[in-house]
């Protein structure tokens, strides 16, 4: 029973990692760049939600506004910062997004009255628990798991059936060929950044009731890298599975192993994974040709 309880809380945590990792993978598949500021996108999303509810908006209005706003923000970032250096070595984009993360974290602390403190997002299900048998389920965790599952289903349907989703798949497989087929690859890249920012915002909004919202909560994004690598960096289902694996491992390590292992469990897993199977669980095994 104990192990089941730990697994469920691990899955709930893993869902957050999975959503952030999903953002990495979306961007990586589309533009072959990695966004090190994904955690900060999540932080911004959580703050946007907090600010909107503070202004008196009901939660049902604040959430869609936040998600839409972050989508716009993601597209803006792509247009202003990423597109000018497209085609440069990966190092460049990594440094750029690290800088971007720093800037966002710094700017948030400067917002008077909000940035310095910690906040909570008031949700109707705050602190509620369900008891079934010997299990104690907090509704917050169930909400995280449920929303993640629903979001995955929506994304699956979009990529499978909608015109724009199919175009995104095509451009992630071969940009040049997609371009020749008349797909507006640049505009799609912008959309992908928007999509990934809004997924990060959802992760932030889900995390907000569980932990506090503060300026350095984006550090959680560092834990999502292992998730993306374990699943294979180029695979969307891989990101979800990787996130869940990391979440459960961390939750179990925190209980059964000595203190300190919880924080590094994710990184140990990723190092082992890189040595054994560098392409991840779901990654395609590709070799570069000359």
């Amino acid at each position: 029973m104990e192990i089941l309880q730990l697994t469920i809380s691990g899955i709930a945590l893993g869902c957050i990692y999975a959503l952030i990792a999903l953002g990495f993978v979306l961007i990586y598949k589309a533009t072959e760049t990695v966004n090190f500021a994904q955690g900060e996108f999540m932080m911004l999303g959580a703050f946007a939600g907090v600010v909107l509810t503070m202004l008196g908006l009901p939660l049902l209005l604040a959430v869609p506004l936040t998600v839409a706003g972050m989508a716009g923000f993601g597209m803006l970032v792509e247009r202003l910062a990423i597109r000018p250096i497209l085609g440069q070595p990966q190092f460049t984009v990594v440094m750029l997004t690290i800088g971007m993360g720093y800037v966002m974290r710094g700017l948030i602390t400067m917002v008077p009255g909000i940035g310095a403190g910690t906040h909570t997002l008031p949700v109707p299900y705050q602190g509620m628990v369900w008891r079934t048998g010997g299990l104690v389920l907090s509704v917050e965790q169930v909400a995280v798991i449920g929303v993640t599952a629903a979001l995955c289903a929506v994304l699956y349907l979009v990529f499978r059936y909608s015109r724009i989703g199919v175009a995104m798949q095509a451009s992630s497989q071969n940009q040049l060929a997609a371009y020749y087929m008349g797909i507006p690859v640049r505009r799609l890249n912008g959309l992908v950044w928007g999509l990934s920012a809004s997924v990060a915002a959802i992760a932030g909004l889900l995390l907000a009731p569980i932990t506090f919202v503060h300026a350095s909560m984006g550090m959680l994004g560092l834990k999502a890298f292992p998730a993306a690598v374990v699943g294979g960096f180029g695979s969307l289902p891989g990101a979800i599975v990787g996130g869940l694996v990391i979440g459960v491992v961390e939750s179990l390590a925190g209980f059964y192993l000595p203190e300190g292992f919880k924080d590094v469990a994710a990184y140990v897993v990723v190092l082992v994974m890189l040595v054994i199977k560098p392409n991840g669980l779901f990654g395609e095994n590709l070799r570069k040709k000359v």
């Binding site: 990586y28 072959e32 990695v34 910062a81 000018p84 250096i85 497209l86 085609g87 440069q88 070595p89 990966q90 190092f91 460049t92 990594v94 440094m95 750029l96 690290i98 800088g99 971007m100 993360g101 720093y102 800037v103 966002m104 974290r105 710094g106 700017l107 948030i108 602390t109 400067m110 008077p112 940035g115 310095a116 497989q173 071969n174 300026a215 560092l222 890298f225 292992p226 690598v229 960096f233 203190e259 300190g260 924080d263 590094v264 994710a266 990184y267 140990v268 990723v270 190092l271 890189l274 040595v275 560098p278 590709l286 070799r287 570069k288 040709k289 000359v290």
Partner: protein
């Protein structure tokens, strides 16, 4: 404009390419040697930090700037060197052997990280080094019996041939000597066959391999040499601060080191020094600027992060060759005076550099 006529084989071998180099670098060295005579002890202490960061920057430059491998966990090597030095000197090992041992131990750690690096590249390598850096930080915090845990560890003043080097001036000369040796070593390394192999790997792994360069060996070697230099810098850092604790060697420090090489200019030895100066001067400039800013901004805890991030973004977007690249442009402009063209240093776009094969 200067034309180089080589009339002697020794000209090919000497480090200084022409008399201008000899004059200017000689002048710089003399200025540094007599610096304690005219600068206040505060600035000497800061200069000591610049020299230490320059050594660490040289280390990361060998790896990132010349071999093209990205590392987001280099503060871990700084930590390994610092703690090794602290532990060894507290157990009675003299300064020089301890320094060499700290470098060697750090190099060993570098080989360990280098092993997964042989199979992965690009972003995977960045994440592997990030994971390594975070694990080392946690180990430093938890291994109480050796590292003193989160409480930290006091470090004695360096002791050299029976003399205790107290005070910033003595330490400054020590750091200057080590830094000079490190710089000469790196300069010689880069013009040797090994250094050329590193540069070949950076420019194209496949062509390097085709030319008979053993990728695994040279990548591991690059990691080891880089880690050794950073470890030596860490050892000096421990003596400089006299007190070390794990959070000094975390992700923030790693990103500071990356900032150093990017701002200084990737792929140049000068860049390591310019970047080190930047890294030391920047926080003080921010402190000075605080008086002129509105209190909401000046009191915010994230002010330094904001400035660092902005500088990093600005350099990546507008001056990818860093401070040294800017200096090269100015020099070329002056040398060619009316004939300088805008596009002389334009970046080539490399859209074909896809990591995928489809």
């Amino acid at each position: 404009m200067r034309f180089l006529f080589k009339t002697d084989y020794r000209q090919d071998l000497s480090l200084a390419r022409h008399s201008g180099h000899v004059f200017w670098y000689g002048l710089l060295l003399v200025c540094l040697l007599i610096a304690p005579g005219w600068a206040s002890s505060y600035w000497i202490a800061q200069l000591g930090f610049v020299l230490i960061y320059a050594i660490a920057g040289l280390g990361l430059m060998v790896l990132s700037g010349y071999t093209g491998l990205l590392s987001i966990g280099h503060a871990a090597f700084l930590g390994v060197g610092a703690y090794a030095q602290a532990w060894l000197t507290s157990h009675g090992v003299p300064f020089v052997p301890a320094l060499l041992a700290a470098g060697a131990l750090s190099a060993l750690a570098g080989v360990v990280v280098g092993l997964p690096a042989l199979r992965v590249k690009g972003i995977y390598l960045a994440i592997a080094t990030l994971a390594f850096g975070l694990i080392v930080e946690e180990v430093l915090a938890r291994w109480d019996s050796v590292t003193g845990g989160n409480a930290g560890l006091p470090v004695a003043a360096p002791q050299l041939f029976g003399y205790v080097l107290e005070g910033p001036v003595a330490f400054y000369y020590l750091a200057l000597a080590v830094c000079l040796l490190a710089t000469l070593a790196v300069l010689n390394l880069l013009r040797s066959a090994t250094g050329r192999a590193f540069i070949a790997i950076r420019d194209s792994e496949i062509s390097a391999q085709s030319m008979g360069i053993h990728l695994a060996r040279y990548k591991t070697l690059s990691f080891a040499l880089s880690a050794a230099l950073v470890g030596i810098a860490g050892a000096l850092y421990a003596h400089k601060l006299r007190y070390i604790s794990p959070e000094q060697f975390g992700i923030a420090q790693s990103i500071d080191l990356l900032l150093l090489v990017v701002v200084g200019g990737l792929g140049s030895v000068h860049g390591a020094f310019l970047g080190a100066i930047f890294l030391i001067v920047m926080p003080q400039t921010i402190v000075l600027a605080k008086d002129f800013l509105p209190p909401a901004i000046a009191q915010a805890s994230g002010l330094q992060a904001l400035v660092y991030g902005t500088v990093l973004m600005a350099f990546v977007l507008f001056e990818p060759l860093g401070l040294y690249g800017r200096w090269c442009k100015i020099r070329t402009y002056l040398e060619l005076f009316p004939f300088y063209r805008q596009g002389m240093f334009r970046r080539q776009k490399a859209f074909q550099r896809s990591e995928r094969l489809k």
